[in-house]
Each structure stands twice: as structure tokens, then as C-alpha cells.
Amino acid sequence: MKLYLKIWRQKNSQSKGKIVDYEIDDISPDMSFLEMMDVLNEKIIDEDGDPVAFDHDCREGICGSCSMFINGEPHGPDKLITTCQLHMRRFKDGDTIYIEPFRAKAFPIIKDLVVDRTAFDRIQQSGGFISINTSGNTLDANTIPIEKENADKAFDAATCIGCGACVASCKNSSAMLFVSAKVSQFSLLPQGKVEATDRVLNMVNQMDEEGFGNCTNTGACHVECPKGISLDYIAKLNREYVKANLKK
């Protein structure tokens, strides 16, 4: 396949970026999207250019590192996958592909397609700890009965890999889906209920401090989430936030 790529290039966080055009030949439909980027970078290096910087790690949809905004959607046109799981067979010979970084004030660009997503780390850190004794006399987890429905919901919330596609797809750059998943994965379980009030207040407060936008319930985050985290969790977060405020 021959492809025409329009890639956002930006030297560092201070410089002004722009879209740069590239042409690339002999791309196999069996390649993953990141392999195509590898081929492009080898070509750029052969021509003594500066390769395109992009995040990647596990390349199997688990780590949440890859973060490209491809043809107007985070992780590209397919649903329930990350960029590393996207394959070139999804594109046609002669296609033009826009490749941009995830854009949000809270995700400043480090270089090219690499953005700083440590805002998510700070939100999780603000959630604090759970009171489980891990230093002797540890209770077997199975001795605490948990309703199947809640166990399933907590697990679903915990599948969030924190990639930031929710922020990237939201027209307001809201992090509500991420925060709702991280709050719910604990608050649905008995072990997480003890600190539930402080956790939701601190995490929402940190989310606001990081400069994410407000949720307007468009549902884009849920559609683009590679793990299919449901909007239910945002409604649950809203409920928990009100309840926590009433307690405080």
C-alpha cells in the first residue's frame, strides 16, 4: 500500500508544532499501525531526519501507552482497541491518514505524538490508600462476601488502562470517565468503602486542578474507550460525589 501521512511534529513542549506530510510505500496490510510508524521512522532515519516520537510499550492493548489520534478518533477508526491493535488492513491504498497527539491542556505535548499523561497519575495518587492489612494476619480475600453484580462492575471499572482516549475524544477534554472508573473500582467493593468519601472528593478535586474540562454527557468517551468503560460509572461518580459532600 502507498499512504499519505499527515503527522503532527513538535520539537518540544515550548515550540510550536505543525502538520508535516510524509509519503510511505510498500506497507503490508498485515502490519500493525505502530509497525507502519516503525517503517516510517526507519525511512526518516535513513534520510538523516528526526524520527517521529510516539509512545508505545506492550503492543498488545494492555499498558495504555500508545496514544495516537488517528483520522479524527483516538486509537483510530476501530472500536474497543488501542492504537497498537489497529492494523493497516483497515486502510486502503492511497489513503491519507492524519496522525495527531491526544490534545488537552492537561496533557501537554512532550514531543511530536508523545504527551505527558502524569495528570492521571496525580489523580490516582490523590485517591489515597485502602485499609487492608498486608503486614501479618492477612485475611484471605475470599472470606469477604461480595455480591456477584458488584464484583463484576468493579472488575469492569478496573479494566481501564488509563490511556486517555476518553479525554482525547471528549470535545471538552473531560476526564470524567477515567476518574469514574478509578473511583468505582474501589467503592463497589467492601475493602474500598472505608475511604470512599475522601477518595471521591480528593480525586474530583485533583481532576479539576489539572485543568480537564466539564462533562457534557455526549458519550464520546464511552464509544472511544478501548476497554468499553460504560457511562454508568459517570452517573455513579456524580452520585458518590453528592453523597460525599453531604457527609462532609
Partner: protein, 220 residues
């Protein structure tokens, strides 16, 4: 509790509550207006009551105006904050792949509704205030129907009203279901709420359109 409305979730809850309050007002406004199609006397009686009852005039009316202003001001504040959250926009952004057009453009439908409200206040509220409090004319319980049909003689005004009602429908279709989501309604009701929201969002503006067109054509 005092800090709740300083947070993003708190502001959305405030937006949702004011929106639901305006929806309740809109419903009662429609129920009164639709009587003009069936009975001149009932419409005059209800309008006279709403225009002269002290509770409605001096308590509910100021609360309503405050609710409208709050909803618009908060809407603009949220929009400004949301735009600030993404200073550099995408070269290509396919919102249509993951969300409804109406949900992404509430600010546009809101601005059209605000413009309509200016016209609507100029058409009905300002003359009403002038009649009652500036000229202090003697109260006439039978004047309301005549005033209504007089306003809907002008095809340009009827056209503008109907256009505004289309934007009102676009706003309500997303607004009602979005409000319940902001208030944290359990999502097992989400599908039902979305259906009700869609039906309400279409039915009420369509009803207002019908009233305007009915009076225009019946008295043409």
C-alpha cells in the same frame, strides 16, 4: 457541602437542576398556550390568573427570570472552561463517529434560544409590563387572546418562532437525558429516560409550532 458548586460536577448539577426547572416551566407554558386552540375563554382566564396572581407575579416570575439567567450564564461559563481545556484543536476531529450532533452543539442551540427569548420578551413581556405598571391601564380579563392572535398575524414572526422551536427541540432532546445523567440517575433507567427525553424534546416544541401556525392560518 458549601464547596460542591465550585467543582466541575457541582456546576453540572447546578446546570441540570436549572434545566429541569426550565423544562417544568416550559411544560406549564405549553399547557396554558394550547388552550388558546380550543377555548378563547379558558386561555383568557388562565392568562389573567398568571398575569395577576401576586404569588405568580412577584415570587414565581422573578424566580423564573433568575433561573433563565443562571442557566445561560452557567452555560457560557462551562463553554469557556471547556474551550480552555483544549487550547490547540485537532486538524481532524470526527465527533460524528462517537456522539450526537445535538449533544456537541448545545451552546449553539442555547444561543439561538437566548436570541429567541429576547424577541419573545419584546413581543409579550415588555408590552405586558408597559400595560400593567407603566401605563397602569385598567385590567381587562379578555384582552389576552386578542393580543396573542395579533402577534401571530405576522408571517416573519411566525417563521422566526418556528425556527426557534426547532432549535429548542435540538436543545431538549439532549438536555433532559443529560440532566438526569448529571444528577446521577441510576443507569438501569437510562434507555427509558432517553426515550422520554427524545419524545418530550420533539413534542413540546412541535406543540408550540402548532399553536403559532394554527393562529396564523386560522386568522389569515
Amino acid at each position: 457541602m458549601k464547596n460542591i458548586f465550585k467543582s466541575s460536577i457541582g456546576r453540572k448539577i447546578a446546570m441540570a437542576l436549572s434545566g429541569i426547572f426550565l423544562i417544568v416551566f416550559l411544560t406549564q407554558h405549553f399547557l396554558i398556550n394550547i388552550t388558546s386552540v380550543f377555548s378563547e375563554d379558558i386561555f383568557n382566564m388562565l392568562s389573567h390568573f398568571m398575569g395577576n396572581n401576586p404569588l405568580v407575579q412577584f415570587v414565581l416570575q422573578p424566580v423564573l427570570i433568575a433561573g433563565v439567567l443562571f442557566h445561560f450564564v452557567m452555560g457560557f461559563i462551562l463553554e469557556w472552561q471547556n474551550r480552555k481545556a483544549r487550547p490547540v484543536t485537532y486538524a481532524m476531529y470526527k465527533g460524528s463517529k462517537n456522539s450526537m450532533f445535538v449533544s456537541r452543539n448545545m451552546i449553539i442551540s442555547g444561543i439561538v434560544i437566548l436570541s429567541f427569548l429576547v424577541l419573545h420578551f419584546y413581543d409579550f413581556w415588555v408590552p405586558e409590563m408597559d400595560y400593567k405598571y407603566i401605563q397602569s391601564l385598567p385590567e381587562d380579563p379578555n384582552r389576552y387572546y386578542e393580543e396573542l392572535i395579533h402577534k401571530f398575524e405576522n408571517p416573519v414572526r411566525v417563521g422566526l418562532y418556528c425556527l426557534s422551536f426547532i432549535f429548542l427541540a435540538l436543545h431538549l432532546v439532549h438536555g433532559l437525558s443529560s440532566s438526569t445523567q448529571s444528577l446521577g440517575t441510576n443507569n438501569k433507567y437510562a434507555t427509558t429516560i432517553e426515550k422520554i427525553s427524545f419524545a418530550f424534546g420533539i413534542a413540546i416544541p412541535l406543540g408550540f409550532c402548532f399553536i403559532a401556525l394554527y393562529h396564523f392560518f386560522i386568522h389569515f
